[in-house]
């Protein structure tokens, strides 16, 4: 809304080449402001999953970029995404991560009451107001839509249909996560753990989907816990490893581990006899063949651009805070229609894999911080370029998009090419 000419506009076309990008994109305040506007305000971003608010009156708070919203289930079962900002004078309405049992939201400043659908219900001293009904309801993003319970929003309202944003690749990835449930439902009720990192947000779409760093960055895990699912699919030597890196287009990228697994249920670190009930439920639901496939394939390891990481049995949200500050939130991918023991196992695995005290993410976080430091923390300048060329020459295309070796930067290139198209198209 503030007037701004383009005198000091950033030339994204020049800073992002096919095989390298400029380091200044990670630390500059103007770039960050542009991203918040062009990607997080004018594009689709993931908000939350409907199963996080199972009952009427349940709510969670989130950010669309930096703009605070609340996702809430109304009495009629509808899930709304509302500005977390009173329609009167802007006071934040909900200041906790989550809650439940609400019939309405009351503002602490002058006591206006809003329904769970955002409608202004009442205000003290009604006679002082003349505004038309509806003019003082809570603001909401221009577009809100859900796919398989995954709620996305776009603030500006002109980002085109969600279906187009997800594309066949994005939907397929989400489908693969949901299909792990014999009843086709997720049940994300275990809460989100946040990790604060002194790096730019883009380190996370990158490293979450980087198949090249495992053997070095996570060497301590490999040594301390030999025999994880990643042994064959990610740790094994380049030329033995049959996992793939995929660019599904629109910024959605994947490390396709299922082609690298050496056994079924590798992704859960278990065997069929240990989760016999689950396997049986899948078979009942989908038939033997599909169940076998699901038990082999497991969940996707993929980015839904820009902020949702389908991290195998975790979901993660990347929240940009500032040019050099990001929060990486995750929750275990708990499933509907499975026995409690199965979900316990997922939760235990999630505690081990992600979060500030886990066995994986701390190393990624420190490396992201080192990368931020290396590139200049926003206070200085750098002339460095970031190389993205790995595997560019051996990449191929198939029906789903571009595909490379799992250790290739096909994923990063996919991310950056979409980033470039968004940042230049919405200039």
């Amino acid at each position: 809304m503030l007037a701004r000419t383009d005198a000091d506009a950033v030339d994204y076309g020049r800073l992002i080449e096919d095989r390298r990008v400029h380091g200044s994109l990670y630390g500059d305040a103007r770039v960050f402001a542009d991203e918040i506007d062009r990607i997080f305000r004018r594009g689709w971003v993931f908000v939350g999953h409907e199963s996080e608010v199972p009952a009427a009156g349940d709510w969670v708070t989130r950010r669309l970029g930096r703009a605070p919203v609340v996702m809430v289930r109304a009495g009629d079962g509808a899930v709304h995404v509302l500005a977390n900002r009173c329609a009167h004078r802007g006071t934040m309405l909900c200041w906790q991560q989550r809650g439940g049992g609400r019939k309405s939201f009351q503002c602490s400043y002058h006591g206006w009451v809003f329904g769970l659908d955002g409608r202004l219900r009442s205000m003290p001293g009604r006679s002082g107001f003349e505004s038309a009904a509806g003019a003082l309801d809570l603001a909401r993003p221009g577009q809100v839509a859900a796919y398989q319970g995954f709620v996305f929003a776009n603030q500006s309202g002109d980002a085109g249909p969600l279906d187009e944003h997800l594309g066949p690749g994005g939907k397929m990835l989400i489908d693969r996560a949901v299909e792990l449930s014999p009843v086709g439902r997720l049940a994300l009720g275990a809460g989100w753990i946040g990790q604060r990192v002194a790096s730019n947000w883009k380190m996370w779409p990158e490293s979450d989907n980087d198949g090249y760093h495992l053997a070095i960055a996570h060497a301590s895990l490999q040594k301390a816990v030999p025999g994880t699912q990643y042994e064959a699919a990610l740790f094994s030597p380049e030329l033995d490893n049959t996992s793939q890196a995929r660019d599904h287009g629109r910024g959605h990228v994947e490390l396709e581990l299922r082609c690298g697994y050496d056994r079924e249920l590798a992704w859960l670190g278990t065997t069929r006899d240990k989760v016999a009930d689950y396997a049986a439920a899948l078979e009942r639901a989908y038939g033997r063949e599909a169940a076998d496939r699901i038990l082999w394939d497991g969940p996707p390891h993929a980015l839904i651009f820009p902020n949702l990481f389908l991290g195998e049995m975790n979901l993660a949200i990347v929240e940009p805070v500032g040019p050099g500050e990001t929060i990486h939130y995750h929750t275990p991918l708990l499933l509907g229609g499975v026995d409690a023991g199965f979900n316990d196992r997922v939760l235990r695995q999630s505690e081990a894999a992600m979060g500030p005290a886990s066995f994986f993410l701390p190393d990624d976080a420190v490396i992201a911080e080192r990368m931020q430091q290396g590139l200049g923390s926003g206070r200085g300048t750098t002339d460095g370029w970031i190389d993205l060329s790995r595997g560019a020459g051996r990449e191929r295309r198939d029906a789903m998009g571009r595909v490379g070796h799992v250790s290739d930067e096909t994923t990063n290139r996919g991310f950056w090419q979409h980033y470039r198209s968004v940042m230049t198209a919405r200039a």
Binding site: A198, S220, K223, Y329, E351, A352, A357, F359
Partner: protein, 164 residues
């Protein structure tokens, strides 16, 4: 502490300060020697008012996972602790919560200063309440349960790759 003899108090304080010092100095082998085979180490998300495992915790280690954690730290390749963070813990307001024939349960508040020497070089401050459950064994006092409730446990945390 009320309910303890002066000698018991001195012994328990010495144990707790020693545990803290070993953790301060990233002496994980020494630290691990202080815990029992059924040790439970829990860092809940928010107050410790829920059953661990029913929702996400920062850390919810049974003895096996705790051993893995230490093993990982000792590989020499744990980037998140390369080099180990210089740390110092302060323990205060110790209260005896319970004593049984063989065990003591104590709680106190703590501050932990950590120099994040791996990348940002910030001095980080961790603060909260800790509960120690100590067991008298033939080898002396041993730690069988530690619960650490961070004051700001509901907020996103920086990397926590050491043992609190």
């Amino acid at each position: 502490m009320i309910g303890l003899s002066a000698a018991e108090r001195a012994e328990i304080e010495a144990f707790i300060y020693r545990e803290a010092r070993l953790a301060d100095e990233s002496d994980y082998a020494g630290w691990e020697a202080l815990v029992t085979d059924d040790m439970h180490y829990w860092v809940p998300f928010g107050p410790a008012t829920y059953e661990p495992g029913t929702r996400m915790s920062y850390i919810n280690d049974n003895r096996t996972r705790l051993a893995t954690r230490i093993r990982q730290l000792l590989t020499g390749h744990r980037h998140a602790q390369t080099p180990p963070s210089p740390m110092r813990r302060m323990i205060a307001n110790l209260e005896l919560l319970e004593r049984t024939e063989s065990e003591y349960e104590l709680a106190g508040n703590f501050t932990l200063y950590e120099l994040s020497a791996q990348a940002t070089h910030e001095l980080r401050l961790w603060a909260g309440r800790a509960t120690w459950r100590l067991r008298r064994t033939p080898e002396g006092l041993r730690l069988c349960r530690k619960v650490v409730e961070l004051v700001n446990a509901t907020e996103p945390q920086p990397t926590l790759a050491f043992i609190l």
